[in-house]
Symmetry: C2
Amino acid sequence: MSLAPDFQDWSREVAGRVEAALERLLPSPRVAPGRLHDAMRYSTLGGGKRVRAMLVFAAGEVSGADPERLDVAASAVEMIHAYSLIHDDLPCMDDDVLRRGKPTCHVEFDEATALLAGDALQSLAFQLLAEHRLAAAAEGQLRMIQLFAAACGSRGMAGGQAIDLDSTGKGLTLPELERMHILKTGALIRASVLLGGHCGGLAAPELEHLDRYAKNVGLAFQVVDDILDEEGSAATLGKTAGKDRAAGKTTYTTLMELADARRFARELLDRATGALDAFGDRAGRLREIAGFIVHRER
Amino acid sequence: MSLAPDFQDWSREVAGRVEAALERLLPSPRVAPGRLHDAMRYSTLGGGKRVRAMLVFAAGEVSGADPERLDVAASAVEMIHAYSLIHDDLPCMDDDVLRRGKPTCHVEFDEATALLAGDALQSLAFQLLAEHRLAAAAEGQLRMIQLFAAACGSRGMAGGQAIDLDSTGKGLTLPELERMHILKTGALIRASVLLGGHCGGLAAPELEHLDRYAKNVGLAFQVVDDILDEEGSAATLGKTAGKDRAAGKTTYTTLMELADARRFARELLDRATGALDAFGDRAGRLREIAGFIVHRER
């Protein structure tokens, strides 16, 4: 897929903004406990595609939000994402040694520091959402924190990870696999889009369109992840490839032929962009991100 | 120390209220992921002294707060406390097999489930503070979430645990030990008291009195913990006794003679109750809790 050069510029700009915001909002390594702060920064700064931050900013374009609010919301989302990766990589979970092409947090530091860095990143994300002004009314901001917390918890991301763990070696059906991913990666992706919408004060019917977009994009993201894992090499992905299949995990590519998985990803893309019709040009970035997620090569 | 029978009744009543609130606010084990919800409930329900919940309710008596608000605030605090114990007990941290007289979460379930149960309890605590009405104005409620998140994070409880880890085998000075405990246990104890004050809408100067009380009570709690650990047996404490000393950790009883540690605990008690003078009878429960913390036998 050829992306508009303009989209590449925009995504680089967002990544740069979020990096600067995270740099500012994460505690300094010169403040005690320095090693913990180092670990939090190590796993949050300087890496990743920043897809969730892009979603916050793109939904913020739909809602006409102040970019300074989006900086905070995107930082909170990226902190939660970083915490989930740190914990997911621990020996008692996926036991991964490589993440974004560098040693995982517990390899670079130690297991206890990685555990606490993840814990503290979660607290910090909520602290940011409570201490910066993100909505016209404080009531609205409480609703943002509520939806964000629900997306992180046992009926969101953490719950999806638990289902993923329980299912290893067992084999899931397609609906079960979908349910797992809707929680494991989908919940935070939905929260990213909705926070961006809330930052600009969108009304409920518009938030519902965004939610439908986000559900489909979230699932597409995972289907493509499975396709890339099946096709990929460690060099391209920056993580150990084929690992899910080796671990006996059900993925879209163990349940479907590769060609069918690719077709399914394109269908999800169509459903996602279809949900944006009411927004016209304001949703251009959200459409581009959906295309980027489905057509990415890593 | 002889406690007023009335205080025993009150503390049983609070424990019962909080147990009922937690029972209601924790996700049902019949909702997926059931095993994760089981683990969250296993580690939160039916155990512990509920000191933090008592502090919420006692500060709520000072502020004249609606007990239903205090149920929510106390549940959030107890969930954070339970999550911190689950993670603290993990093999990469203190590697404890016994907690409150029963197998620790990772022993009863498994490490990955324990990790995720702690993670999800943290999210749920924030969700509760955002979704229930806890203050007259939403602005005030955002401040409550902010102070609570700060108490949990890298410059609060998680930071104290990191300093504790780093210091094992190194030896701390008395001021360093104090600094560690102010974060590790003190931060959540302060947050408990302040949330109780906020639930009834106390003004800043009154919250400062409560904060001074809480700082001293928090430290007293830890000094007494060290004394009990030094003296205690596994049967009395419901956890492995003498473990801190065996692990080469600095405690009040490695830095002080037992008699001096006991004297220090009594001084902290005096400072704590002294901070309550402005409140008169309204602070009766807070005074009793301070006495209970210093004179408890487990």
